[in-house]
């Protein structure tokens, strides 16, 4: 039942293409949309415009090298992707990272989450017709990027995690800078509310749009803020804690409304939680080594290992099948965006075509993570 061999389907729907080159799809996503007038009847995602064969590549790379490819999947949560990989390798080797490394990893992951949500907030405004939020959100994002760059050396795709810990110790200025940025973000938080959250026009574009029920969210395998906005408790940091998240106090933001507005509020709430996690840790980084000793050539024992982490968009799973060699036999990345995308046709059913942009903006897709 391939949509769109012609412009009219058998059911009499008009077919339009959205993407692969479209400013609101945040990348090269291609959606074939069956329309009745302006009402969306059916959506068929066509992927692969950025399918970079990462899973095939990983079969040839060693366990130290394959980490860097994952930064290119969900580049907005590059740290968290790398964390998933090193945790999977550590789980297989039964090595544990040092306490200092764990704290640094969590700090970096939460900074990344904060920066990622800020970018989402900026782009969401841009998609819905508000240009100004872009500049305000990027002001804080740049400050975070500068901190990350000072410690890791690059701004976006850091490759900072190594099996057993982190690559380098944190920069001496790190704690001071992070506190400054947190202060800045807290001071400017009211601007976010003034610009978008309190805006009635903006609210009305999101409220009641793109409803996803709890049962559907579970059945479609949604995770992250998309699922939590429908009332599914799925925060991996709470359910399957890793890297010392179990010792931290933070709330899982849940909302039962299930519409785009709920997803918006969940993400804003998560930003506050990330700030609170960073505040708990920033003065309590344990002293000691930043890297546990690992062998130079890492060989995993035979078997399969699954590790999941919570990225800014949901649950990322790294599934490594090892045959005892120095490279993975099979490496599968369970990407959060892939499952969230599969729920978009359900969310958009019956919505107007203009609302599709709002739905995609609140689900916050990163296309290279879908295609891998």
């Amino acid at each position: 039942m391939l949509l769109g061999q012609d412009h009219i389907t058998e059911e009499g729907e008009f077919v339009i293409n959205m993407g692969p080159q479209h400013p609101a799809t945040h990348g090269v996503l291609h959606l074939k949309i069956g329309l009745d007038g302006e009402t969306i009847k059916k959506i068929e995602p066509h992927l692969g415009y950025i399918h970079r064969s990462i899973e095939k590549m990983c079969e040839q790379l060693s366990y130290r090298q394959f980490i860097f490819t994952t930064s290119r999947m969900d580049y907005l949560s590059a740290h968290i992707n790398n964390q998933a990989c090193v945790l999977a390798v550590e789980k297989a080797l039964q090595v544990e990272a040092t306490p200092r490394a764990k704290a640094i990893r969590v700090l970096m992951a939460e900074l990344t989450r904060l920066a990622s949500h800020q970018l989402w907030w900026a782009c969401m405004g841009l998609d819905l017709g508000a240009v100004t939020p872009f500049f305000y959100a990027f002001r804080e994002r740049e400050a975070i990027n500068t901190i990350i760059e000072e410690t890791c050396g690059t701004r976006l795709t850091q490759n900072y995690m190594v099996p057993g810990g982190v690559m380098m110790d944190i920069h001496p200025n790190f704690q001071k800078r992070v506190k400054e940025v947190l202060k800045q973000i807290k001071e400017k938080a009211h601007e976010y509310d003034e610009l978008l959250t309190g805006n009635v026009i903006f609210q009305q574009r999101l409220k009641g749009v793109g409803y996803l029920s709890k049962e559907d969210a579970v059945s479609y395998g949604c995770s992250g803020p998309t699922a939590r906005a429908s009332g599914v408790s799925c925060d991996v940091r709470k359910l399957f804690p890793y890297d010392g998240y179990e010792q931290l106090k933070f709330d899982e933001i849940l909302n039962t409304e299930g519409d785009s507005w709920a997803r918006y509020l969940v993400r804003l709430g998560e930003m506050k939680q990330s700030i609170s996690i960073i505040e708990q840790l920033i003065d309590n980084i344990p002293e000691g080594d930043f890297q546990a000793k690992t062998k130079n050539v890492i060989k995993l024992p035979k078997g399969d290992f699954y590790q999941r982490v919570e990225t800014a968009r949901g649950e990322l799973g790294v599934y490594i099948v090892s045959d005892g060699g120095a490279t993975p036999y099979r490496c599968k990345f369970r990407s959060p965006n892939f499952s969230n995308l599969s729920a978009i046709p359900k969310m958009a059913e019956g919505a107007k075509i203009g609302d599709l942009v709002a739905i995609m903006a609140t689900v916050d897709l990163v296309i290279p993570d879908i295609d891998r």
């Binding site: 039942m1 391939l2 068929e44 995602p45 066509h46 992927l47 692969g48 399918h51 064969s53 899973e55 095939k56 040839q60 789980k91 559907d216 579970v218 059945s219 479609y220 395998g221 995770s223 599914v232 408790s233 799925c234 359910l239 078997g303 399969d304 290992f305 699954y306 999941r308 649950e315 799973g317 599934y319 099948v321 036999y329 099979r330 599968k332 369970r334 892939f338 499952s339 995308l341 599969s342 359900k346 295609d371």
Partner: protein
């Protein structure tokens, strides 16, 4: 349920199943034609209630293909891994689980695209990532691509 209880209950359902407990999860290895009855039980029975299929993939073991389903119950918080063995590597096919978990639709498209496994009763089986006229299935171990540059 603990892994032991799961193992006991599943043995009652499906005596042919074999188990592998070396890893983190309980692995159940079944022949491919037993998949749908078992999966339906796992989803619908109140004591299992596996409602969340969080990872669906395939492994090419050269002499056979192995479909891997990672299941989680949001209610009971237990995990299980179902592995279905497909011995016919020339013309591999298996029943689709799309009727049980909707997330399977796109995931099975992906597996079809990269491994060439045909899913029976799938609503819209197509190549998801690669072009329709792409030759071969790239994640198979015997895939040859003359344009690929080896390091």
């Amino acid at each position: 349920m603990t892994n032991e209880e799961l193992k006991y209950s599943i043995t009652e359902l499906l005596p042919v199943a074999t188990y592998d407990e070396s890893g983190e999860f309980l692995n159940i290895i079944i022949p491919s034609d037993e998949l749908i009855p078992l999966m339906k039980e796992l989803r619908s029975k109140k004591e299992f209630d596996f409602d969340y299929l969080f990872c669906l993939t395939c492994i090419d073991w050269k002499d056979h293909l192995m479909m891997v389903y990672h299941l989680l119950s949001k209610v009971h918080k237990h995990c299980i891994v179902v592995k279905a063995k497909i011995t016919d590597i020339q013309n591999p096919k298996i029943e689709s689980v799309n009727c049980i978990w909707k997330t399977a639709e796109l995931n099975e498209d992906e597996v079809y695209d990269l491994f060439g496994i045909r899913f029976l009763n799938h609503p819209n089986l197509r190549r998801l990532f690669l072009e329709e006229d792409w030759k071969g299935f790239p994640l198979r171990k015997n895939y040859v691509d003359e344009n690929m540059i080896k390091l």
